[in-house]
C-alpha cells in the first residue's frame, strides 16, 4: 500500500472516530425517581391505596420506562403501574407482584406525565385495574393477597432510547475496529520488502493452528452446553460464546507462536509487543472496573457486558505471555549455527 493510501486511510479513521465521539456525546434525556414506600394491608385494604409521581419530559423523543423493585419479598398485594400524559391518556400500564420491567422505546411528546402505583389487595381490585387499562383479567393464584406491612424501594426511570442511534454507533464501532486493525497492520508492514509474507512452512503450520482452534471451539462450546444443561446455566449466552472464541483463539495463537508461524518474515515484533501490552492493560482495567462496580454478575448470572472486556484482557495477556515465553526460549535455545 502506498504512503498516500496510508495517509488517506489514517485520516478516514480519525474522521470516523471523531464522528462516533460526537454522536456518543450528544445529550440524552433521562428522568428518574427513587421511591421508598411502606404499605400496610389491613382487612383487604391498602394504606396508602396508591402513590404518584410527576415527570416533566423536556424534549419529545423515544423513551423507555424501567422499574426495579429492590425488595425480594413478595408483598401481600399486586402493584399496578400506569403512566399517563397530561390529557389523562394512558401511555403504558402493567401489573405484577414484584414489579420489574424495561419497556420497548415509545414516542413521548414534551410535557407532563403522571406515574402512578396502585396497590391492589384483592382479585376484584386487580380485575378492575386490568379492565381499565385493557390488560387481561383473571388471576391463577390469589394466595398472594394477605394482610401485613411491607417496606420496599422502587426505582423508576424514563430514559431516552433511540435504537437507530444505537445501531449507527455499533456500526461505527465495528468499522473503526476493522479500520484500526487494518491501519496498524499496513503501517507495520514494510511494503518494499519481499519478505513481508509467510513462507510455506508457516502457512502449513497456520493451517494446523486454525484446525486446532476450530475443534477447540467446538469442544469447549459443547462442554459448556452439557455442563449448563446438567447443572443449570450460570452465565448469559454471550458469555458461553465468548469463552469458546477466546479459548479457541488462544489455542490457535499458541500453536502459531510456538511454531514460529505468527509473525511474517522480518515483521516488526516490537510494535506487537507494545500493542498487546496496551490492549491487555486497557481491557483488564475495564474488566476489573466492571467487577468492582458489580456488573459482572447480574441476577445470579455472569453477564456478557460485564465480563467481555475481562475475557479480552485475559486473552491479550495470555498472547503477550506466550510471545515472551517464545522470545526467552529462542534466546536460550542453542542456534544450530556452524562457525
Amino acid at each position: 500500500m502506498s504512503g498516500k493510501t496510508k495517509k488517506v486511510l489514517t485520516a478516514s479513521l480519525i474522521a470516523l472516530i471523531a464522528f462516533t465521539v460526537i454522536i456518543a456525546l450528544a445529550p440524552k434525556h433521562g428522568y428518574g425517581i427513587s421511591m421508598n414506600t411502606a404499605v400496610e394491608v389491613r382487612d383487604g385494604k391498602a394504606f396508602p391505596e396508591n402513590a404518584t409521581h410527576t415527570f416533566y419530559v423536556k424534549a419529545s423523543g423515544k423513551y423507555s420506562v424501567r422499574a426495579d423493585w429492590s425488595n425480594n419479598e413478595q408483598p401481600g398485594f399486586v402493584t399496578g403501574f400506569t403512566l399517563t400524559d397530561e390529557n389523562g391518556n394512558t401511555v403504558y400500564s402493567i401489573s405484577g407482584g414484584l414489579l420489574s420491567f424495561d419497556t420497548e422505546p415509545m414516542k413521548l411528546k414534551a410535557g407532563k406525565y403522571l406515574c402512578r402505583l396502585d396497590y391492589l389487595c384483592d382479585e376484584e381490585a386487580y380485575n378492575a385495574f386490568q379492565r381499565t387499562n385493557g390488560l387481561p383479567e383473571g388471576m391463577e393464584d390469589t394466595s398472594w393477597f394477605k394482610d401485613g406491612e411491607w417496606f420496599f424501594g422502587c426505582n423508576i426511570k424514563l430514559y431516552e432510547a433511540d435504537r437507530t442511534k444505537d445501531a449507527v454507533m455499533i456500526c461505527c464501532g465495528v468499522i473503526i475496529a476493522l479500520m484500526l486493525a487494518f491501519t496498524i497492520i499496513t503501517l507495520v508492514t514494510d511494503d518494499k520488502s519481499d519478505a513481508s509474507k509467510y513462507d510455506e512452512r508457516q502457512v502449513a503450520m497456520q493451517g494446523k493452528a486454525y484446525k486446532r482452534g476450530f475443534f477447540s471451539i467446538v469442544l469447549i462450546n459443547t462442554g459448556l452446553m452439557v455442563f449448563s444443561s446438567l447443572l443449570g446455566s450460570f452465565a448469559q449466552t454471550g458469555v458461553y460464546l465468548m469463552l469458546g472464541i477466546v479459548l479457541g483463539t488462544c489455542v490457535t495463537v499458541t500453536t502459531q507462536i510456538m511454531n514460529d508461524a505468527y509473525f511474517r518474515l522480518d515483521q516488526n515484533k516490537k510494535v506487537f509487543y507494545i500493542l498487546f501490552g496496551v490492549l491487555a492493560v486497557i481491557n483488564a482495567a475495564l474488566g476489573i472496573r466492571n467487577i468492582l462496580k458489580g456488573n459482572a454478575v447480574v441476577d445470579g448470572m455472569v453477564s456478557f457486558a460485564g465480563t467481555a472486556n475481562l475475557f479480552i484482557g485475559l486473552m491479550t495477556v495470555y498472547v503477550f505471555a506466550a510471545l515472551l515465553v517464545k522470545k526467552i526460549r529462542d534466546g536460550k535455545e542453542a542456534c544450530d549455527e556452524e562457525p
Binding site: D194, E200, R201, Q202, L265, D336, E337
Partner: protein, 63 residues
C-alpha cells in the same frame, strides 16, 4: 529424518541458517526445521535451496 547433507553443504560455504534463509526467502526456523527433519519442503523450496548452495537435488535431498 535429519538432513545432514544440507547442513554440511551450508557449512562448507560458511553460511549461517539465517544467511541461507535470507537467500532463499524463508525464515531461519524453516531452514532449521528442514535440517532437523521436522519439515519436508516443497519441490520449489528444494530447488531454491539447491541453487543457493550450488548443489543438485540429488546431492541434498536424495537418500
Amino acid at each position: 529424518m535429519k538432513n545432514l547433507k544440507l547442513k554440511a553443504a551450508r557449512a562448507l560455504l560458511d553460511m549461517s541458517q539465517q544467511d541461507l534463509a535470507d537467500k532463499v526467502g524463508v525464515s531461519r526456523q524453516t531452514i532449521n526445521a528442514i535440517e532437523k527433519g521436522d519439515y519436508n519442503p516443497t519441490i520449489n523450496l528444494c530447488i531454491a535451496i539447491c541453487k543457493a548452495l550450488n548443489k543438485t537435488l540429488d546431492d541434498l535431498f536424495w537418500e
